[in-house]
């Protein structure tokens, strides 16, 4: 079958490892060959966390430069940092709300204009889906559900072999019961956003 190489990137604490794990679990249940690779940095909170989900006829667990089909990014500067993993046919799904690194607060770097970044991204890849992810998560009453919003956008884009219902089933069985309702709502909001921005 065709190969889909997905990279998930975020900041420690945003929940992107859970997102990639849920994706992997769903693929397993659907009988889609899958490998998930995760790298946690040295910090428990605040460092860059990257994972890769590879589905289909592929055995390598990581994604090289230029070979990412979908970049799912929880933070705009991290999208830029990993953009070289993409090629002109890639799909980029990105949260547009910054989580400025501490270096910016202490004046060791400047956070670039998000609008300018997004404009540049658009000229380089086939398609972009952008979301105000944190806002959506807050709107559904659970600021920690950003990962569900992003997962929703990924599935809603239709670019993976995984459908909405299958993903929702995994979320229902594998996330904390207390957050189930808000998680599902956040997921659906993500799906809706991606569909709105469909081709």
């Amino acid at each position: 079958m065709d190969t889909t190489r997905i990279i998930c990137v975020g900041v420690g604490g945003q929940g992107n490892l859970l997102a990639s794990n849920l994706l992997g679990q769903t693929a397993l249940r659907l009988g889609i060959p899958v490998v998930v690779s995760e790298i946690h940095g040295m910090a428990q909170r605040g460092g860059v966390v990257e994972s890769a989900v590879l589905m289909g006829d592929v055995t390598s667990p990581i994604v090289s430069d230029g070979e990412c089909d979908i970049l799912l990014s929880f933070e705009p500067v991290e999208t830029a940092r990993l953009l070289a993993r993409c090629n002109k046919d890639s799909l980029v799904i990105t949260n547009v709300q910054p989580l400025p690194p501490f270096t910016v607060s202490v004046g060791q770097g400047t956070y670039p204009s998000v609008d300018e970044l997004l404009e540049k991204f658009r000229t380089k890849v086939r398609k972009m889906i952008t979301l105000r992810g944190n806002q959506i998560a807050e709107d559904v009453g659970n600021p920690l559900s950003l990962n569900m919003v992003m997962l929703g956008a990924l599935i809603g884009s239709g670019a993976t072999p995984i459908g909405e219902e299958a993903m929702k089933e995994t979320i229902s069985t594998m996330t904390k019961k207390a957050f189930l309702e808000s998680n599902l709502k956040a997921f659906e909001m993500g799906v809706g956003e991606a569909k709105k921005q469909a081709d």
Binding site: T103, S105, T110, P112
Partner: protein, 616 residues
């Protein structure tokens, strides 16, 4: 029930590589497990820890890797199936018992898990531990995917028993931390009661005994070489005149490269699952079957050199190359594109990779280095120490743990680290060799790991410096594993707790200060007293890791803090001196993110205007 205890053969589960190893050990009927945690191996013992609560599996977090190896050795010579896990640098610590345990051998399966870290995602070096197999004379197995992580582990116990030798399984970060489907097999029953048959002329390694044992090891090595021929995870994949030899995760890159390049009908891949000892006949046969050979192995040219020796001994003249082809080097981990390009270049395949998007016109991006968490007590301790030592010409040796991040500005409180325990012993050296003041830092787990011996040395040899023990009640960096100094009752264990203070006093330290770092004033006073003491002084800075506290339901109930914008005169001491990630600049004003702040109050104590207050 722990998911790795699922007793239904044929079930497919998505497992982390490290979980698959633990499952393999359970399937093999492992009865005894020891470790010291270390990334990328830490998730293996975590499984045993939880499983040991539900079964009679014996498990312990030992104080260091040497201890773990020796505890395991006792069980393995008593006839219990035993596993011991550690990261690559951990095997350096355990190298002493390892080398002689290879002589005595074991009486039941003993598996040593060693996790290497090419590209140094979370390590102080990127040594290639395949040399340890060659150094010790012990067999080494290298799985290539998650399924094999489980299967090879089961096999390792069998091999260990057949040879009566410990068997090393080597993984790398990219195997330890991948998730993939694993089909479960049956679980063998555990044999939990051991018995040690005394035999001093085999197990007491005085020279006369070891002279004989060394010969025995070489005999066992010969037997292992024979067995390597039929080792089921050595495999020739495909057929053709071009040969590729690979091990571990690289096997995947090679398989994908051959298929992507459309040359599957021209390439024979020799996948080596047993990378020590090598069966020379088996490998010579492969070398004879091809016209040229590319060796794809991360880090050192270990197999490449071995293959060249085998070729020379057998009069085989096929070209054998590895390092230097394309971007294949002795540095860092490989990736699929790099391997595909190397295969294409070596065999003369016309191929152009998909170009990555051009990012040269993107603005410079701010770095996102790892940072101490919001409310981390280490930040407060560092701040207090800096108040005393900040303007003094001083050396600050540090150690391995979260607090190593104190290296980064604005804290900048780390000058030297080489390995666990080194802050104390190197502090001895710095204090004696220079006229500079020395203040060393070590965590509580690391103190028990190998800080104690350094401290005893400092007392005995009359070295004069200050040691700060950052006691956050857990082994934080690797994921909150227990250690001898922690209160394990919230985790449901009634283990005796060993007091860091008693140990320090017991080592003979006279000047000991125990402080709560969130009380900055008292902490600074203690640091000053230690600074002025003429001898070795120790400050024990005690405050639980906030993430650990949260996970055991003991989180601080403190309200988050906020900056009173009317009082704030924008000195930014809070931001510039503490660098707590809960703080951010909103325009020109410092603000505190209430979702991140845990209410430790340290910033409020630092603010010269008293502008930081608990949120109402």
């Amino acid at each position: 029930m722990h998911k790795l205890l699922t007793d239904s053969p044929g079930t497919k589960m998505l497992l982390l590589g490290n979980e698959a190893i633990a499952r393999g050990a359970m399937e093999a009927g492992v009865a005894f497990a020891t470790c010291y945690p270390g990334t990328p191996s830490s998730e293996i013992p975590e499984q045993f820890f939880n499983i040991s609560k539900e079964t009679d599996l014996y498990f312990e977090y030992s104080t260091n890797e040497k201890v773990a190896m020796e505890v395991a050795a006792g069980a393995a010579v008593s006839g219990l199936r035993t596993i011991v896990t550690m990261k690559h640098v951990g095997l350096n610590v355990a190298a002493d018992p390892l080398m002689t345990l290879a002589y005595t051998g074991v009486n039941a399966g003993m598996v040593i898990i060693n996790a290497d870290d090419p590209s140094l995602f979370s390590s102080q070096n990127e040594q290639d531990n395949r040399f340890y197999a060659r150094l010790s004379g012990l067999p080494m197995l290298e799985p290539t995917n998650v399924q094999e992580m489980k299967d090879v582990t089961v096999h390792a116990f069998e091999l260990s028993e057949a040879l009566k030798l410990p068997v090393i399984i080597r993984t790398t970060t990219r195997l330890a931390h991948i998730r993939g489907p694993v089909v479960l097999d049956e679980m063998k029953p555990r044999k939990r009661a051991g018995y040690f048959e005394k035999n001093p002329f085999h197990f007491v390694t005085v020279p006369a005994v070891s002279r004989k044992l060394h010969g025995l090891l070489l005999e066992r090595d010969e037997k292992a070489k024979e067995m390597a021929k039929d080792f089921p995870y050595n495999e020739v994949i495909g057929d053709g005149k071009w040969g590729v030899v690979a091990n571990g995760v690289s096997v995947n890159y090679v398989k994908d490269a051959v298929s992507d390049l459309g040359i599957a009908d021209r390439v024979r891949i020799l996948k080596l699952g047993m990378t020590w000892p090598l069966n020379k006949t088996y490998i010579a046969d492969f070398l004879r079957s091809v016209e040229k050979v590319l060796v794809v192995e991360e880090l050192e040219p270990v197999l490449e050199n071995d293959l060249k020796v085998i070729a020379q001994e057998n009069g085989i003249t096929v070209p054998i190359e590895g390092k230097g082809v394309g971007r294949l080097s002795r540095l860092y981990e490989y990736d699929p594109r790099m391997v595909r390009e190397a295969v294409a270049a070596y065999f003369g395949i016309d191929y152009t990779s998909t170009p990555p998007v051009d990012v040269s016109d993107l603005p410079e991006l701010p770095a996102r280095p790892p940072n101490l968490c919001p409310g981390c007590p280490h930040r407060a301790t560092y701040y207090a120490v800096k108040q005393v030592y900040g303007n003094v010409d001083s050396i600050r040796p540090t150690d391995i743990g979260c607090y190593t991040l104190g290296l980064l500005p604005p804290i900048s409180m780390a000058d030297f680290v080489i390995c666990m325990g080194s802050s104390v012993s190197s502090g001895c050296g710095f204090a004696t060799a220079t006229d500079q003041k020395v203040v060393s830092f070590i965590g509580d787990s690391t103190f028990f790991h190998s800080g104690i011996t350094g401290l005893i040395n400092a007392v005995h040899n009359n070295h004069k410096f200050t040691l700060v023990i950052l006691d956050n009640g857990t082994t934080a960096m690797t994921g909150h594993q227990p250690h001898p100094g922690m209160d394990a009752s919230p985790m449901g264990f009634d283990w005796p707790q060993i007091s860091v203070e008693d140990v320090v006093r017991g080592c003979g330290v006279k000047d000991v200060h125990v402080v709560k770092p969130f009380n900055l004033k008292k902490t600074i006073e203690a640091v000053r007293a230690a600074y002025e003491y003429d001898g070795i002084s120790v400050i024990i800075s005690k405050e639980i890791c906030p993430l650990f506290a949260k996970s055991i339901g003991k989180a601080r109930k403190g309200r988050p803090f906020t900056v009173d914008q009317e009082k704030c005169k924008n000195h930014r001491d809070c931001l510039n001196l503490l660098a707590c990630p809960a703080m951010f600049l909103d325009g020109e004003q410092v603000q505190i993110d209430k979702n991140l702040c845990i209410g430790c109050s340290v910033c409020a104590q630092v603010c010269p205007e008293n502008a930081i207050k608990p949120l109402k």
